[in-house]
Symmetry: none
Subunit: 212 residues, 4 copies
DNA sequence: AATGAATGAGATTTCATTCAT
DNA sequence: CATGAATGAAATCTCATTCAT
């Protein structure tokens, strides 16, 4: 009310930052809890407590509890896609190893977000479609294109590129899903490298055209 | 009073059948709903309605709602393990194809049970441990032994058998998990066969010792 | 329908006995349970189980659960009143001792009935009025008359007979209530005698006219 | 943020008052209802209605219905023990009269609490043990010591002090229990005085060493 | 914006009673 | 008469959301 024309922009910038910080605190708290016991078993009271604010304050940042879930699910920015968007991703063995390594590199702080998205996708249609499938399809498409290219280049056997992509994704899934399910801890960088190498070797020697 | 000794068994048999029918009706209704929207989002009212009985009747068969969940999770009898217990499972290409085919053969009626177990494992510790991990470990162990045998026989490359088992499971997971997540429909028998064949080919040509 | 005029009476007699036996079994089971955990915390299922019959069978003998309670409360036939109705009850020290002794003589099998009546009187108006107060008032009246007689005979001090009666009842209550509350075990016959003697001595030396 | 150090205490004080008022309102409402119809026959709906709040609000103050009961039972602060702790309690006739008088002085507002504790003790083990018996034993012990002292001083007859204590408690019970049971109204101050006087006279003339 | 007590709709669970067998 | 599964009304309890401060 006292603010004049000059204050606004500054206020707004600050305000934006403050709002962003608030949202972040909430999302981080929520992600951890969602990852542990699931969305439905987490109360807004718990989220507020972990975010160190009052229950009512949550509603200054989100419309409702589900809004927090959707934000958490969307936030989860795994480096998977980045890794796969690299046009060199399947260029040669080392590139593939590097790709798997990077794709498995989910930071401790990102894990709850990824877990939440993965878990709640089986229960929430919006998350399944807008957050989960969209990414999977994107990855699938990139992989398919890469593989088609390698086939055209005479490096891979002339298989169904779509199925090949699915195969690669499966193998990657076998590496990362246990951690997302909470059934296994996150692999250390060393474990990631060694896993990636072995898996790529096994994959390649099947997928690569054999010279005999 | 005189014919008690004879009546009891008959009464019990009838009673057993009636109870089994009741339990089964409830579990079947519950499994479908759990698979669709998750345990926490399914109300006892919905279960009762779908099982065509009064809400209170549920409690003549189960102690509480979670009791239904546990029964559903335990019930899920996928043919996976049976398929894998076949000592011939990895004998040759055809045996492997057949194994994958059988392991993917989840009937429409069993699917909700399997889905429930798969989904709720990430939220319910008892299910995760007693129902989910137990089976996974069993499968893993069987595969590892099979693979170690093939390596000893000079058929497979001398890789880490444990990692090989994980690889096979990953590939199988890539085939079946989408259906369990509700992200894809169950594959038809034909699709199963074709999927199994391609996947085995890709797997084998990596795992098989290359001559020349 | 087949029965003729001669059968009826015999049938009826047998029937009466059978019915009486059934009621008794139920009441005995119920009294025990009511005494342990109270009427409201006892389920018909428990009563039926303890009476070794099916739940539905209860309703062949009683209109409803409360009917069982009322019957139990009414049944409780403590020897208190009988003891007090003896015209000699307060005649001399020995008679008084004997009276207290007899009045405390609640058999193990009667205890649950007495306990139930005592406990539920504080919650159930019908029991309070029709089963509890009626008896208390009767006892009070008898005692008052006895005491008035002793005063007239110059044996007791010229006190308010009503208050004297209340005093005697209080002392008796102090002896028996703990057992009814479940706070103390039933006194053995020896304990009863010794208690009665001491209590009477204490009572008498206050109530008896002192000769100086 | 600046004035936090100062605000907190004030906030807390206000909060304490508000909470205390809430708890008190609930306990008062509950005590009245429990005293009338018993714990098991009182619904949370009734309690909330009488406390003039929504049913759910109860659970902001207590974990569950039983929590309310326990709080009510604990609250009941009868002046009995205070009266008995007076070292002069049995000093002479007037002291005894005064003691009984004070011990009977249960205010109208405290009565439901006392009634609840008395009634529910027969059904709830925690209340019986932690709330009821503890106090009875305390009273008993104090009385016993007083009496032993009077005996040593040659004022009372050389009786068993424990039994004497029980006797005093019985007489007191006879005075107060009817009110606790709901079988009689609370005595007015005048009635209390007159009752105490008569009862003490009767007690004393038995318990007091007779000169003659 | 922040607070957190109050709300009330809705979920789970209990259990006396009925009724078909 | 006996049975016990089915019923459904009612009780307890949870928790996302609101709102006065």
């Amino acid at each position: 009310m006292v603010s004049n024309a000059m204050d606004r922009p500054r206020f707004n910038a600050r305000r934006q930052r403050r709002i962003a910080r608030g949202r972040q605190r909430i999302m981080s708290a929520a992600a951890t809890l969602f990852a542990q016991t699931g969305f439905a078993n987490t109360t807004t009271k718990e989220i507020a407590h972990r975010a160190d604010m009052a229950e009512g304050t949550l509603y200054n940042y989100f419309d409702n509890k589900r809004g927090i879930l959707l934000a958490v699910a969307k936030e989860a920015e795994t480096p998977m896609i980045a890794a796969l968007q690299d046009p060199q991703a399947l260029e040669d063995r080392d590139a593939m190893v590097s790709m798997f390594e990077k794709a498995m590199d989910i930071s401790e702080s990102q894990l709850p977000f990824a877990r939440t998205r993965f878990s709640e996708a089986s229960v929430d249609d919006v998350i399944l479609q807008e957050s989960f499938m969209v990414r999977l399809r994107k990855i699938h498409q990139l992989l398919e294109e890469h593989i088609a290219g390698r086939i055209a280049a005479g490096v891979f056997r002339p298989i169904d590129a779509a199925l090949g992509a699915r195969m690669v994704m499966s193998v990657f899934g076998g590496l990362i899903v246990p951690a997302l399910r909470g059934a296994a801890p996150l692999p250390s960088p060393e474990e990631r490298h060694s896993l990636a190498e072995t898996v790529v070797d096994l994959l390649l020697d099947g997928i690569r055209l054999r010279d005999s």
